[in-house]
């Protein structure tokens, strides 16, 4: 019987043949944390050890509240910088790097065949490049810092077979929302999700990052694409270490296989207050919004900003809407400066914010008052997430966000093509 990518990667790490359902203890390649490192440090200090076991494996990216919004956040950042210096942690990215889930792929940490755990629920993003990557909690991160070890249950795999092609105005985000809407927010709870099928190689690395990122909203443990030539080419000049890719065998055992035809897919919107409350954009078109957010670890990459700029170039943001744009990283920021996308967005009246998570998690930079509505390219629309508990969040692609920014109400981006 063949093996899935996940079984191969975890088996290699565990030093034995493993199948889904088994529990293995592994030494991960990287352990990610962000602003929550301040809380993790407090847990680590309870363990009675002085030094972290493998400083070179720890990657810390300040991205959640950057620059610090108040003195408490400033104190968190300060304690993290002091810990990084004291422990000799080489892979530290301060407030001018970007969102961890963009920084780790760009900086060559997220590589095929690696095991990456992170104290952030969107850690599965790195499966876009063929890594096994999954989210863990703070206490567990602190213990992994001390022991260089973590237990993981090898997950069963759900394969999504993609066929056909995305039509103009339809994006990877629409695909992820449609899948979650059709099958529910726990469709892949505890499972691995493999994006496969004849159309899988057509997806850009950016689109793969969006899909792997959104696998977290399916409840998945990890989500991935097989690392192909496109992924390997993208990694040229980025990979920090040599790596050995793994792909699923043709006779691997899958828990389920879900065929999906891209040809008929339309732009989708997740409505308040659940990611699986999904409707075609036509069903909610005309809903007025107060704010549009373009960015985040889901949709803040160069191709996302360019999709938005293609619609907003030469047009103006509707006077009743505030539009926030957050490039996912400084590298994306610089590329979007170079490509002219940022200029087009600024000319249209968008506010450009520092690379980071921005208001997505509800801590700063554009929170909502009671009764307000945001259409966002982010990944969660839970009640109260971006401000008052009586505010509303709709989720959509960057193109839908840009079309909505122009008209002031939820709008099908195909009207602008």
């Amino acid at each position: 019987m063949g093996k899935t990518l996940t079984e191969k990667v975890l088996g290699r790490k565990a030093g034995k043949d493993v199948v889904a359902g088994e529990v293995v203890s592994v030494s991960p390649d990287y352990v990610l944390s962000h602003d929550n490192s301040a809380a993790i440090i407090k847990e680590f200090q309870k363990l009675g050890v002085r030094k972290v076991k493998a400083p070179g494996k720890i990657v810390i990216v300040l991205d959640h509240i950057v620059p610090a919004a108040d003195e408490k956040y400033a104190q968190n950042h300060k304690s993290i910088r002091e810990f990084v210096a004291a422990q000799g942690i080489p892979n530290f990215f301060d407030i001018n790097a970007g969102i961890c889930h963009q920084v780790l792929p760009e900086q060559g940490f997220a590589l095929p065949g690696l095991v990456i755990v992170g104290s952030d629920s969107h850690t599965p993003s790195y499966g876009a490049l063929g890594a096994f990557a999954t989210g863990i909690g703070r206490t567990e991160t602190a213990c992994t810092w001390a022991t260089d070890e973590i237990w993981l249950r090898v997950p069963e795999t759900m394969r999504i077979d993609l066929a056909g092609r995305l039509r103009p105005g339809v994006f990877a985000k629409d695909l992820s929302l449609k899948l979650i809407g059709d099958h529910g927010a726990e469709m892949a709870n505890y499972k691995a999700v493999e994006f496969a099928g004849p159309a899988a190689p057509d997806f850009s690395v950016g689109a793969r990052l969006t899909l792997a990122n959104m696998s977290a909203e399916m409840g998945a443990k990890n989500g991935y694409f097989a690392p192909d030539d496109k992924a390997l080419k993208w990694l040229e000049g980025r990979a920090r270490t040599p790596f050995v890719p793994a792909v699923s065998d043709p006779d691997a055992s899958y828990e389920s296989v879900l065929p999906f035809d891209l040809d008929g897919l339309e732009p989708q919107v997740a409505c308040p207050h659940a990611v699986d409350n999904v409707k075609p954009v036509a069903a909610v078109a005309g809903k007025p919004v107060d704010q549009v957010l373009i960015g985040t670890c889901t949709n803040g990459r160069l191709e996302d900003l360019e999709a938005a700029a293609a619609i907003l170039k030469g047009r103006q943001v509707h006077p009743s809407v505030r539009v926030l744009v957050i490039p996912a990283s400084w590298q994306v920021y610089r590329e979007a400066l170079g490509s002219g996308a940022l200029a087009a967005l600024v000319e249209a009246g968008c506010v450009i914010l520092n690379s980071g998570c921005g208001p997505c998690l509800g801590a700063h930079e554009g929170l909502m008052a009671a009764g307000e509505v945001t259409l966002s390219t982010s990944n969660r629309n839970f009640r109260g997430r971006m401000g008052h508990r009586d505010s509303e969040i709709y989720l959509a692609s960057p193109a839908t966000a840009a079309a909505t920014a122009v008209t002031g109400q939820i709008t099908d981006p195909r009207e602008f093509s």
């Binding site: 509240i65 909690g137 206490t139 022991t147 237990w151 927010a185 509800g362 801590a363």
Partner: protein, 170 residues
């Protein structure tokens, strides 16, 4: 065996409504966390919860963010266990790691209602109430070890100590 009163909620109770993001990156004491428990789901909960109470919920409890406070705030509020049809995976790990029992029983979820009095027996894997006795999926031995130690920190601390002693003996 310990006694408590049920607070019942629906499916997909997510971490944002259990512990809002606006507090997530502030470092708080457990007592402060408890005052925000379920703030955006049921503002009456934090004021009314008593030590030993049990949360009963539908499927996918704790979906969303990896924030550990979503488990810690319930433990700090005195909740002795969460009984649900299913749990989101990071929540399940976090709850175990901070020593909050998370129990799966669809039957209990179907039967129990807010205000019911229940007795919980982790060892025997039973929830008893006037509506009947319900079994839950027993937790694996390794997980019971972490809960018995009071959470992963204490558990890891003991293991690190043991290793240090072994290393000295070699």
């Amino acid at each position: 065996m310990s006694h408590g009163i049920v607070w019942k909620y629906g499916d997909n109770v997510n971490t944002d409504v259990i512990f809002p993001g606006r507090y997530t990156y502030q470092i708080m004491t457990p007592e402060e966390m408890a005052t925000h428990a379920l703030e955006d789901l049921d503002p009456a909960f934090a004021k009314g919860v008593k030590p030993g109470d049990v949360i009963v919920a539908g499927k996918n409890f704790g979906s969303g963010s990896s924030r550990e406070q979503a488990a810690a705030c319930l433990k700090a509020a005195g909740v002795q266990a969460v009984v649900a049809r299913s749990f989101a995976r990071i929540y399940f790990r976090n709850a175990i790691n901070i020593g909050l029992p998370v129990l799966q029983s669809g039957e209990a979820v179907d039967a129990l209602e807010t205000g019911d009095h229940v007795d919980l027996d982790l060892g025997r894997g039973e929830i008893r109430s006037a509506r009947g006795t319900f079994r839950f999926l027993p937790l694996p031995q390794s997980v019971l070890g972490i809960i018995a130690a009071g959470g992963l920190i204490e558990y890891t601390k003991t293991r690190l100590k043991e290793r240090e002693i072994e290393a000295q003996q070699e």
